[in-house]
């Protein structure tokens, strides 16, 4: 069943139909949130919030657009909101308590994931990070990235280029 059919069923009040969409995209949304936030628990919260917000604003969804991109844009905004709140309230408290700079931490049990990449990602800003994640994981074009980031295609291309350039430089510094 196509996304549009499921959406039209949801709009008729069939909440159960939304389960298909949740199960289809939850991994992708979680992955994006996890890569942006660098924290599994927060990524879980963002995943839930994204689907709830998506369901409640389904009537505003333009069916000409890709549902996946729309979900990604919601997830991205949620992540940015969280980051902003975290920056405001906990930046200095965290520094004071731990004595360390707040960074990204993606180390999790049971996941074969390079420990090296976490600090590398934290060197990028949220837009660059999102752009490179969407490019690498989803093979998105600059136009699709722009749709998620809600910016111009040219801006998305620049974010992607800068992300690649920064990562390349950082990897070279580490002699990879």
């Amino acid at each position: 069943m196509q996304d549009k059919e499921i959406i039209s069923r949801c709009l008729k009040g069939e909440i159960e139909a939304f389960e298909v969409l949740v199960k289809k995209y939850e991994k992708n949304v979680r992955c994006l949130a996890w890569n942006i936030l660098g924290n599994r628990e927060e990524a879980e919260d963002v995943t839930q919030e994204t689907f709830i917000q998506a369901y409640l604003s389904l009537n505003r969804f333009d069916t000409k657009r890709s549902f996946k991109n729309w979900l990604y844009s919601i997830a991205y905004r949620r992540c940015i909101d969280r980051k902003r709140k975290e920056k405001v309230f906990f930046k200095y408290i965290k520094k004071f308590i731990s004595g360390k700079k707040s960074g990204i931490n993606i180390r999790e049990k049971g996941i074969e994931y390079s420990e090296r990449f976490a600090p590398l990602l934290s060197k990028l800003n949220e837009k660059e990070r999102t752009a490179i994640i969407l490019k690498i994981n989803e093979g998105y074009s600059a136009k699709e990235i722009a749709e998620v980031l809600n910016c111009a295609e040219s801006t998305a291309r620049v974010h992607l280029f800068n992300a690649r350039r920064k990562l390349k430089k950082l990897l070279e510094e580490e002699n990879v």
């Binding site: 199960k23 993606i106 990449f117 040219s154 291309r157 990897l171």
Partner: protein, 162 residues
């Protein structure tokens, strides 16, 4: 990477031109492309959806919260409607009071206006008949010298025997 283009890229602040540079040069030039090609390496180390393991779907939690949110929405709408109704009625009351006050100011002026324009001699008062409890009554009209005040006195009919 071609140094001249790299320098040019850093110097230009406009993203649209930077994007053009990327499109026209960096993505096409073999030297620059090779210098920036780290996608295959990143693919191995980046967290991807396939690498995420989760036994339980978020659906149950999402469903619960959607149901509770949907329950809240009609209340919110009602609250909103109630607020609008209250605001509307308040505006209506204020408008009525304002109109009353403004028209009151004009009404106060109107007798003075009448006094000036209508001569006291023109005021004619004539009472043809008066009744108290369906019985004929006597009527007395008292008018001041300056005609500013007129008193009408009505009392039950008394046969004075005249």
């Amino acid at each position: 990477m071609c140094k001249i283009y790299k320098l040019f890229y850093h110097l230009i602040p406009v993203k649209r031109i930077k994007s053009l540079l990327i499109e026209k040069h960096f993505d096409k030039c073999p030297k620059c492309k090779q210098g920036n090609d780290i996608d295959s390496y990143l693919k191995n180390i980046l967290l991807s959806p396939e690498k995420i393991e989760r036994k339980q779907s978020v659906w149950d939690l999402v469903k619960q919260r959607i149901i509770s949110e949907e329950k809240l929405i009609p209340r919110k709408k009602w609250k909103l409607k109630w607020q609008w109704a209250f605001a509307g009625s308040l505006i209506f009351v204020i408008t009525i009071i304002s109109i009353g006050y403004i028209s009151g100011l004009f009404l106060k002026k109107s007798p003075k206006y009448n006094q000036k324009t209508i001569s006291p001699l023109e005021i004619k008062l004539k009472i043809e008949s008066a009744k108290i409890k369906d019985k004929p009554a006597n009527v007395y009209i008292f008018q001041g010298k300056n005609h500013k005040m007129t008193i009408i006195w009505v009392e039950p009919y008394k046969n004075t025997g005249g």
